[in-house]
Structures are given as structure tokens and as C-alpha cells.
Symmetry: C2
């Protein structure tokens, strides 16, 4: 072995020992409250990735969409391959500038939240995605305090993912894992349109 | 309609007009070079979500893993439902502190890159994920200039997603869409371990 290779090995051996010690410290298992927020892409798509991963572990998963309306999306088709192991509820009526009717937005969000509460009570579920719930909270379409209380009171092994920009501080406070997706560069700025299989 | 509701409607009508005009300006369709970087979670899971979305559009997808070794992951199992519409190549040998052998890391990355080049030439592919390619580039396991040149020279309708921390500036320069995942809060800091269906 050359000197360089030997130095690399020794350095990495040390790093592995540190890494192993760090992993060994983490012993708690619990259902996580995960928040994907920020102006960048990937908030919902990362939640879809987690649904897929959980399906691969043989569990059931569900998604409630609070804002997005009855669009035809790729993910909806793809999840059909998993039959009744995926429950998908598109209960939004579109963005608030599409409906132009606040009372209707509030009613749709209340309906979606009732479905979320019902799903949280289902013991067979491994992961629940509450897509764009942050938007519903931001516009006060739902009562923040009671939503956060219900999320905190969920059964201890249920993982929940909440997506949407501008997550409210009390939700961040309650969460185990919060990621801020930041937009560094966006193809829309270069005149590229939303594309099938990527944006929808 | 009450005054409040009418004001809301008028405001949202205006916003919708602005939104529609903005959407109408974007007319270009092209295969995107997407980079998911940053220290936060969701880089790979968002790429998995895009694979799922593209599968839902009836296209074929592929993933090459540059660093991650032969771990058993939920996503690998889940993608089995899509048969040969998903090509999955785990060609890494684990993190560099696992192998402790730089020459072996370089060989694994070169092998993975050769597979990526082969896949880019496959006209039936809609989306190619190059998982943790940023790590291979960061440690100079691959030549940055030739990797970026090959990505730029890909066929115009192929979408490619590159993941991993510390994306190199020339890659960001070449990309259409770059998202920085920032870590706001992480359950590992609270002693919670990596969990099945979430982390793997």
C-alpha cells in the first residue's frame, strides 16, 4: 500500500469509528412529524418518495391533498399499482385564485382535515401525507391550534408528512424533522413550462 | 355575497389573471437537468418521487447509485411493482469511511458513471437519477469537466436528476433547476435513529 493510500485508510478508519459511535447513540424509535417547507421544489415529491419507501416496507400509506384540485397527476396513476395499500384523497378545489371563493376554500379544507383525522385513527397506516396543509393554515382556513394539537396527539408510531410553503412556527415546534427547500435556480425563470412527469 | 367575500373574489380574480399570464409566457419544453443539493433531507426522496411521477406517465426510468452500497432499501422493493420499467443500479460500495480504500471508491464511481453514460444513450428512458453523483464529484472520484460535458450533451428530451450535498458550481451552472435542501430541525439530534420506511 502506498503512503497516500495508507493515510486515506487511517483517516477513514477514524471517521468510521466516529460515525459508528454517533449512530449507536441514537436509539429512539418513533413516528416522526415531518415538515417539508420553503419556496423551492421537492416538498411534495419528497413526500411521494417516502410513501414509496414505506410501501416497499409492506406498509399502507395515505395522502390527503388540501389545496390541489382534481388535476390528473402522474403519481395518482403510479400509485394504482399498489391497489388498496394507497389511499389518495384529493379534497382541495384548486388554488385560492382558482376558486375565488373563500367560503368554498374553507369548506374544502375542513372536509380534508376531517379525512385526515379519520386516517390518523387507522392503525394499519404507516405514513400519512398532508399535502399543502401549510397553505390551509397560512390562510387561516383551519384552526392552527387544534390542528397542531391533533398532530401531537396522534398514535406514537404514525409518521406524518406536512407539506407547503410558510410552515407556521407552532407546527415547526411540534415537528421532529423540518426541511426548508430553497430555490437556487428555477427553469420557469428561463421560460420553460411545467412538464408532464416532472411537475405533474 | 358579503363585502368581504366580494373583495376576496376580486383580489383572487386579479391574482388568477396574473398567474395565467405568467403560465402563458412559459412555452419551452425540454429535458431538465435537476440538482438536489444541500445538507437537509429530501434530496434522494424527491428524486424517487419524480421517478414515480414519470412512471405514472407511462415512461421508463432509471437510477444509478454512486455511493450507497448494497443496502436493502424500501424503494428497491417498491419499484419491483413496475417490472422492467425501472432500472436500478446500486454500484457504490458504501460511504468512503466504510470502504476505507480510495482506489476502490474511484473504481466503483467509474463503473457507475459508465452505466450512467450507457443509460443516457437509451432513447426509451424518460428520467435518469444519478444518486449521490455530487459526492463522487466532490471527492474527485470522477472528472468534473467530462461529467458536466456529458450531461450537457445528453439528448434534449431526457430529464436527469443529480443528488448529493455540495454540488459543484459548474454543475449548478449547467442545471435548469437547482434546489438546496436546508436542515431546520433533525430528529437525529434528539437521539431518534434512522427508521425503516423513512430513512431506508
Amino acid at each position: 500500500m502506498t503512503g497516500d493510500a495508507e493515510r486515506h485508510r487511517a483517516k477513514m478508519e477514524k471517521r468510521k469509528a466516529a460515525q459508528d459511535a454517533e449512530v449507536a447513540e441514537k436509539t429512539i424509535e418513533k413516528g416522526l412529524l415531518i415538515v417539508n417547507t420553503g419556496p423551492g421544489k421537492g416538498k411534495t415529491t419528497a413526500a411521494l418518495g417516502l410513501m414509496l419507501r414505506m410501501l416497499g416496507r409492506g406498509r399502507r400509506v395515505a395522502c390527503v391533498q388540501f389545496i390541489k384540485g382534481g388535476w390528473d397527476t402522474g403519481e395518482k396513476h403510479a400509485f394504482e399499482s399498489f391497489g388498496d395499500r394507497v389511499a389518495w384523497h384529493t379534497l382541495g378545489e384548486g388554488f385560492t385564485w382558482e376558486t375565488q371563493d373563500r367560503a368554498r376554500d374553507v369548506a374544502a379544507c375542513e372536509h380534508a382535515w376531517a379525512k385526515a383525522v379519520e386516517l390518523m385513527a387507522d392503525p394499519s397506516l404507516g405514513l400519512l401525507v398532508l399535502d399543502e396543509l401549510n397553505i390551509a393554515l397560512r390562510y387561516d382556513y383551519l384552526d392552527l391550534e387544534s390542528v397542531v394539537a391533533a398532530l401531537r396527539a396522534r398514535r406514537p408510531d404514525l409518521h406524518v408528512v406536512v407539506t407547503g410553503r410558510n410552515a407556521k412556527p407552532p407546527l415547526i415546534e411540534a415537528a421532529d424533522l423540518v426541511t426548508e427547500m430553497g430555490s437556487v435556480k428555477h427553469h420557469f425563470s428561463a421560460g420553460v413550462k411545467a412538464q408532464e412527469g416532472i411537475e405533474f
